[in-house]
């Protein structure tokens, strides 16, 4: 190797990066000693070495530790057919979700059965799944489309949700000569209720709660310029609804409609030092937001 005025800068970087053989290193060291410009260059290059600030630590490291037992909950969505999204809850959260499913299924089945067996049965708009089923009822035939449990209580539903035409409900049978068209209704649909808070994560214990639900908004950097204000609300129940919706291939649009902002939602419950936290992850087309809450309650 030859060192000269044309290549000494590059050679010094190679020397700094320990790319050279011992013989070449000795040659470079000699060149530095004999050449003032090279000596100055070497001094400058040494300043480019980055040194980590070892006082910087990851905050809330406890949130990262995991236990196999937590994965028991992950099996639940697989059992019911979730392929792309895995929800992991604690044992209590699973039990609650399963209970919610059971209630939803229980409330759906009798209504659908009645509607199918008695096509003339009419239902009130309040019992329909929002405006998902917007349409016209034929003179003779109509059917009842009861939504998940949350829909049974219009008071919990956000009125601003837009309506979208929708197909059949899961598990529903449609008779060939029986067009199922529902009248347009103004019943507000269940909405995503994602609760965000402005506090940094290390202050999550001071999360404000209002009126039985956590409230807040955030214009964090993650969503800056993508979504002007991600102010969604969310409950465990609506997560359960999404799970249910996604398990039914006929009801994809229900899931999309319920979560028109959130493409993917996961909720984890963790207990750290006897304090329960909920880690909520919401993924939209543009952003992914992870938030941790101290409590998560239904409206």
């Amino acid at each position: 190797m030859e060192i000269n005025k044309e290549n000494y800068r590059e050679v010094l970087i190679s020397y700094l990066e320990k790319e050279l053989s011992p013989a070449e290193e000795a040659m470079v060291e000699r060149y530095i000693q004999e050449n003032g410009a090279a000596s100055r260059e070497w001094e400058m290059l040494n300043l480019t070495r980055l040194k980590p600030d070892m006082t910087v630590k990851f905050p809330n490291k406890q949130l990262l530790f995991r236990k196999e037992a937590e994965d028991v909950v992950a099996a639940a969505p697989k059992v019911i057919g979730l392929r792309n999204t895995i929800y992991r809850f604690s044992a209590i959260a699973i039990a609650a979700s399963l209970l919610a499913f059971a209630v939803i299924m229980y409330m759906n089945r009798p209504a659908n059965t009645v509607a199918d067996l008695h096509p003339n049965t009419k239902t009130t708009p309040e019992k329909q799944l929002g405006s998902n089923r917007a349409g016209q009822t034929t003179a003779d035939n109509s059917t009842s489309n009861e939504g998940p449990k949350a829909n049974m209580n219009p008071g919990t539903i956000a009125p601003e949700t837009k309506s979208t035409p929708k197909g059949n409900l899961p598990g529903k049978t449609k008779k060939d000569n029986n067009k199922i068209q529902n009248p347009p209704v103004n019943t507000p649909k269940p909405t995503i209720i994602i609760v965000e808070h402005p506090q940094p994560k290390d202050e999550m214990a001071t999360l404000p709660t209002t009126g039985g639900k956590i409230q807040g908004s955030e214009e964090g950097n993650e969503i800056n310029g993508q979504l002007p204000q991600l102010k969604i609300n969310h409950t465990v129940a609506t997560v359960a609804q999404k799970q249910k919706a996604e398990t039914d291939t006929e009801d994809k649009s229900l899931a999309e409609n319920l979560f028109d902002l959130a493409k993917k939602v996961s909720l984890k419950k963790k207990t750290i030092n006897k304090q329960t936290y909920y880690a909520l992850s919401i993924e939209t087309n543009n952003v992914k937001v992870n938030k941790t809450f101290k409590s998560l309650t239904e409206q």
Partner: protein, 165 residues
């Protein structure tokens, strides 16, 4: 990788990977999210990860998560876009540490990442290549470019400061 090995990885590497990501993003919440996401992915895939590769896998996952995030928010702009601003660099000059920091922040994300991995973690070129998906020769080129840029930045700053005294 089992539960115990995963938790040891958290204990031993969470701070290091956080320092790496924080250095590159300069944003604490983003860095925390990236690290959490990376560990989440590792936990989900732990059965397919050999423990001896876990650290590399962690840094790789965190790196790619960060790059995705950067591409989305474009918080870090390219070196070329910053060239015109270089004449401002001396105005807030307070010392070598800050000077390096300012210079580093003007590097493109990939160059910045490889030089941080090199200096912070002491990774070899091929290891950095495994983490970033770059070839070994690309890594070498990026590191040489980054060193040259940092050195020139320091040199110009010092010349400017001394020239104004």
């Amino acid at each position: 990788m089992n539960e115990k090995e995963y938790n040891i990885l958290v204990e031993n590497q969470a701070d290091a990977v956080y320092r790496f990501i924080l250095k590159c993003t300069k944003h604490e919440e983003d860095a925390q999210d990236v690290v959490q996401d990376a560990f989440e992915k590792i936990w989900m895939n732990r059965q397919n990860i050999h423990n001896e590769k876990a650290k590399s896998y962690l840094f790789s996952t965190a790196y790619h998560t960060m790059i995705d995030k950067i591409r989305k928010v474009k918080r870090i702009t390219s070196l070329e876009e910053h060239h015109e601003d270089m004449h401002f660099y001396t105005e807030e000059y307070t010392g070598t540490g800050e000077m390096i920091e300012r210079a580093l922040n003007q590097l493109p994300a990939d160059q910045k990442s490889v030089i941080v991995l090199r200096d912070y973690e002491g990774y070899a070129y091929n290891e950095i290549g495994d983490i970033t998906g770059l070839s070994e020769s690309q890594v070498k080129v990026y590191i040489h470019r980054a060193r040259t840029f940092l050195k020139n930045y320091i040199e110009k700053t010092e010349n400017y400061v001394h020239g104004n005294k």
